[in-house]
Symmetry: C2
């Protein structure tokens, strides 16, 4: 059995207001091509297909089209689970019919205990769940944490093991030892909600979703695929892709994906970043976090930079602004208070005052002068 | 071919704040039983399966369970379309897989032109659509109205007619001649958006959804099933149910459904309505529009009535309140203004002043006295 392991598609997600639909489509098309050229027997999607419980209609259309393409057009078996970003109840829609074409989409704890057998492998598809679901399922009031639930779930899965088969768990949780980045939903790092990796030892492979970097965990048989697209500047250094996993003999090979627009950090002085000699060497269309080394006021700096780099997602003054002391010491007692206010605003925010803001500022100064 | 014709389930709908889930479930169970006892070959659902584009999770679970029950458990072929209350894009989810079990759910204009043949009948499943969709589909800029679109659509469907078969249209629109009630979405009555019934003459039967009363239209071969549940007090007099339609020889038989709680109007004096001898003869649990004949103030009248009738959805003073003239002529110059205000408020709203309102009223009177 050879399968492709991906997760965390987060369809519908925006990056600082930019729609990632095209990036996600590009990544999807590469995933499909990999599935075909690597001749996989199945595609595993380990949760968070959508970015939110109620995705927008565009995301719904996009996911529907992808699943139709994979499963109905290319007849690839699919093994999927709901993640913490998905609404299990909504994502479940249609799944009772999907099975007929080897598309298994599990959204409840109980489904996880009925393995799906494809080729030489039993797949246990465990969706993201809250402790109360396991408590209900096992009728066991002592289950208070996901960790406690997993002890019982793994035992129940082992009871289903066919010893002549390989055993793969597909799940969406935080496994202990992993590192953490910005764009995931808040989880308790290393606390009660972390699943110790050794608890997962009975499986030949654990295909995880939840953390967005493939290197979040260092275990040979327990892996995160990471997201296929960078969803945060904290993921800028990650290599995105999918695992191609062989069960017998075991092998896991990472296949990187090429982003439509990368997420990167660029650092430099405003004068350098706006030099054609510099920016013509750049993929200007990338999603950029700009680290400006300048300290002085640059009027309309964001607008000026976006003329060259349209997808700036973040702007930081790495050396800080000119400290206020400087400004204060430099105050010319004859300087017009309005000019001083404009300079201060631009220095602090890297934006010029708008007409409306100028109007407010002038009104406030006039009022203050009257009182004085 | 014998089929059951229903429509306008509106799952997720609330009636003046009351959840109708149990009513809809009861109606569904009767529909299923009718489909089984009448041995129908298919169930037609002519749009508005949900009450809104983004139904709540309870409604999603309820519809999913009903469709699984009908199609997968009882193996009934289903022929369904999206209505104006549904999001076509969302409702479409899974429909590419449904076909394998004879569940045809059409959500686009183009799908309407591929008939579904079951037994002796070609079914054309036309979802609710806006003129722009037909304009795009036909690449015809002259299509400005649903009426104009229907002329072309009917011709295109006729071109697909197999003369050896019967031809049934399933659609969700306002057909001319129909009457109108409160609980539908606003449509232009008799205007540009109405479809003349004679345009539908080529079909052996037209199974319509949109209007909630089965008697909205008086045409032998073009019928609304109406909703299975009363969704508004304006529907109080309607008999809810489904049509059992035979294609050859043609016959349409209405099968009424028994509501869990009816929607009714009760009329009388407060003293009578609150008499055990009266209300013990009533289905007190029904959804009631109460028409009070009293004119005088009845403190906390709604709360008092809801003690007996928990599901009051509307309260009306059919003889009006005591006219203000009476009040004015009866004003005792020595009457405390606060008592007068309380009496006036209760007479107008049938509610006593709350503590907070009393506080406001007293503050206002105090302020007015100071100014005087």
């Amino acid at each position: 059995m050879r399968f492709l392991h991906t997760a965390d598609w987060h369809l519908g997600k925006k990056l600082h207001g930019f729609d990632l639909q095209a990036e996600q489509q590009t990544a999807y098309e590469q995933i499909l091509q990999l599935a075909l050229t690597e001749k996989v027997d199945a595609v595993v999607i380990a949760g968070d297909l959508y970015d939110r419980a109620i995705p927008n209609e565009t995301a719904v259309k996009q996911l529907n089209a992808m699943l139709i393409d994979l499963n109905l057009k290319h007849q690839l078996p699919l093994l999927a689970i709901s993640g913490n970003h998905d609404s299990a109840a909504r994502l479940r829609t249609g799944s009772d019919w999907f099975k007929a074409t080897d598309f298994y989409l599990h959204t409840t704890v109980s489904q996880a205990l009925t393995p799906v057998t494809l080729g030489d492998t039993q797949f246990f598809l465990l969706p993201y769940f809250e402790p109360f679901e396991a408590r209900q399922y096992f009728q066991d009031e002592t289950i208070k944490t996901v960790q406690q639930a997993m002890v019982k779930l793994v035992a129940a899965m082992q009871a289903q093991f066919d010893p002549t088969k390989k055993h793969v768990l597909v799940a969406h949780f935080f496994a202990a030892g992993s590192t953490h980045v910005d764009s995931e939903t808040q989880v308790t790092v290393g606390g009660l909600n972390a699943i110790p990796v050794d608890l997962l030892a009975p499986f030949d492979y654990v295909a995880l979703g939840h953390l967005h970097g493939k290197d979040a965990l260092h275990a040979d048989r327990v892996r995160y695929s990471g997201s296929p697209v960078k969803f945060s500047i904290s993921e800028a250094q990650q290599t995105k892709g999918v695992w191609i996993v062989d069960t017998d003999p075991f092998a896991a090979t990472f296949k990187p994906l090429t982003p439509l627009r990368d997420v990167r950090v660029i650092k430099g002085a405003f004068a350098d970043l706006t030099q054609p000699a510099f920016y013509q060497q750049q993929a200007q269309d990338d999603y950029l976090s700009v680290q400006l080394t300048d300290q002085q006021v640059i009027p309309n700096v964001m607008a000026a930079l976006r003329e060259i780099y349209p997808h700036i997602i973040d702007l930081e003054r790495v050396n800080g602004p000119v400290v206020t002391d400087n400004l204060v010491t430099k105050v010319d007692p004859n300087l017009d208070p309005m000019l001083l206010m404009q300079a201060f605003f631009e220095q602090t925010t890297d934006q010029a005052l708008t007409k409306q803001q100028t109007h407010w500022a002038q009104a406030a100064l006039t009022a203050a002068n009257k009182e004085a």
